[in-house]
């Protein structure tokens, strides 16, 4: 088994272009798709007809203490122009003890922004009120109530949900591509006669299959591992702390994909046909399984049913569970089991088909 396994690595070393291409594609796609979804600041234009420059600066300083919003000062006329040209949706008019919006079109940021602005104004007005009530006293601010807020993970915001989806979806999609396209080697070996040489050697057939399949399994795992390593360093992406669970999910997923490969090789036995079939199978499954967009936006029942039949859906679901919600192996037992079951089923049918058509 290990001799066959080592040979496959040697072959990959001689012709590594395919595997490297898909690794690079994974990183590039995730970098652009997830990078564009990264932590963003929302810029809000402000103007004021009644405040002085110094007062405006003070308000801006208070408002800009948020990491999410960035408030910029502008002239009313310029702000109106921007709204008219639909370059911004709304702007904030600052007053001494009040504020109001100039709205051009509805924006889903307005609600969140309003919460922040209202809080800043309320806090400032309260301080002003206290100062006015006790003009002779020196007022010192103290924290009487200190709150320490701990989120479940640092990634649990909506924004990180999207990034996680892109990272898991794209990585699993391109890993599927690499594994299935590499498995064409198996069919090519049968065509070239090298497979026959192995069969009439003293090697057991199980060893030949295990050597080959372990190689494709490791290839998939390494590609995903390397991709995650790069995302961790390049995108500074936080994979949480459930590394063991992530590894288990990946192993179950890659096993299911290798088994799927065996099924495809059993059904289509010409390398040329496989070159055409594999992109269709891979991309089709990725689309149905929600690798390109979250399944939450799909409302068609048939598509949702089909999604339950493809491994990538369970892979993404389980990975998101482990990364975003810190779920452990026991909590993710269902998707992991389904992946393993799919793997066993595909492998059984695939090997039978391959052996029967020999």
């Amino acid at each position: 088994m290990w001799t066959v396994f080592h040979l496959q690595w040697l072959r990959l070393k001689r012709e590594p272009l395919l595997a490297l291409t898909f690794l690079v594609l994974t990183v590039v796609f995730v970098f652009f798709l997830a990078g564009s979804q990264g932590v963003q600041t929302i810029t809000i234009q402000t103007y004021s007809d009644e405040l002085s420059e110094a007062e405006i600066d003070q308000w801006l300083e208070r408002l800009n203490q948020s990491e999410t919003f960035e408030f910029e000062h502008n002239d009313r006329s310029e702000v109106e122009d921007l709204i008219r040209m639909s370059e911004i949706s709304f702007a904030l008019e600052l007053g001494e003890d009040h504020y109001q919006y100039l709205v051009g079109q509805e924006s889903h940021f307005l609600g969140t922004a309003n919460q922040h602005i209202e809080q800043v104004y309320r806090s400032q007005l309260r301080k002003e009120e206290v100062k006015q009530r006790f003009p002779d006293l020196v007022i010192e601010e103290r924290d009487f109530l200190k709150m320490d807020i701990q989120a479940l993970t640092t990634n649990s915001s909506d924004n990180n949900d999207i990034v996680t989806h892109v990272i898991t979806g794209m990585t699993l999609y391109f890993a599927m591509y690499t594994i299935l396209l590499s498995m064409i080697n198996l069919v090519t070996e049968k065509r070239s006669g090298t497979w026959n040489r192995l069969v009439f050697s003293p090697l057991k057939k199980t060893s030949i299959y295990l050597g080959q399949l372990t190689h494709y399994f490791c290839l998939g795992m390494i590609q995903i591992g390397l991709s995650f390593y790069l995302f961790y360093h390049i995108l500074d992406y936080n994979f949480g702390s459930q590394y063991f669970t992530i590894a288990m999910v990946l192993m179950a997923f890659v096993f299911a994909v290798v088994a799927l490969g065996m099924l495809v090789m059993g059904l289509v036995q010409s390398p040329q046909q496989l070159q055409a079939v594999i992109p269709i199978v891979t991309t089709g499954m990725a689309m149905i399984g929600g690798a390109f967009w979250p399944l939450e936006i799909v409302s068609n029942d048939i598509l949702l049913f089909l999604a339950r039949l493809v491994p990538i859906q369970y892979g993404i679901e389980a990975l998101k569970g482990a990364i975003l919600y810190e779920q452990n192996v026991v909590e993710l037992l269902q998707p992991i089991s389904i992946l393993l079951l799919m793997g066993v089923l595909f492998m059984g049918i695939g090997v039978n088909l391959i052996e029967r058509t020999k």
């Binding site: 001799t3 066959v4 040979l7 040697l10 072959r11 001689r14 012709e15 070239s192 006669g193 090298t194 026959n196 040489r197 192995l198 069969v199 009439f200 050697s201 003293p202 090697l203 020999k358």
Partner: protein, 310 residues
Amino acid sequence: MLEVEGLKKTYKTTKAVDGVQLYLNKGESVGLLGPNGAGKSTTISMMSTLITPTSGDVRYNKKSVLKHPDIIRPVLGVVPQEIALYEELTAYENMRFFGKIYGLSGRKLENKVDEVLELVGLSDRKKERIKRYSGGMKRRINIAVALMHEPEVLIMDEPTVGIDPQSRSYILDMVRKLNREKGMTVLYTSHYMEEVERLCDRVYIMDHGHIIASGTKDELKSILSGEETVFVEVQQMSLKLVEQLVAHEAIQKVTEVEKGYKVIATKGEDLLADIFKLASTIDVKITGIHVQTPTLEDVFLHLTGRKLRD
């Protein structure tokens, strides 16, 4: 040493091999001669345990290899018809791999790689990838990997297909050397009768899935002992001459060859004089004539009415 008994292989309704019987004695070089589609490759695939026969058995030292494939696999070397090599790897890497799967390792493996590369004359090209080799070189490495474990029985399935005469001659000399000097038992299948004539002690002739004749080369040629082959070279080909020749009572078969005709006729008649007479009556000028001792090709033609390469 190796016996094949009533081997049959049927694919749906097609009988690829139909009751083949043959045997190989230790140290023998045996030819399996037949045209394309005769069932030679299917027969050797069954002998090498690659495919399961529909019925029949293959015995190695009296033991069924179909029931116990493990008894023959370590001592069997098979050279397939196709170039069964990893083309992206070098000759050295291919040989190392195939040596390893037969249990060779370490110094023994390295020595064997060097020895076999020397035998096939490619020691100086061992670090080149197979895909850069010429057809003849690929064929030699295709044989070399089957020799890595020093097999007792070497089965070669048309190992010289599609290569230049020089490489072919090299391969034939190598096979003869393996058989004569190393005592390797060889089963050599081909549709080139001259290769089989040059290499083999005994020959099986196969057609349409059956063994139609077997024996030593002389035994087979003696099938034609009552006949002779005459080559008639003419200045201009003539259909009329063919008709006249076919009508002659001693002549059994007339086939067109380059610049003339090949005539198979019963011995003892004054054939040459008759041929000259027939030609002169229809004004065909004979530029040359010679009588040839029968070849295996003639035997095959006699038995099947077809040429080996038809």
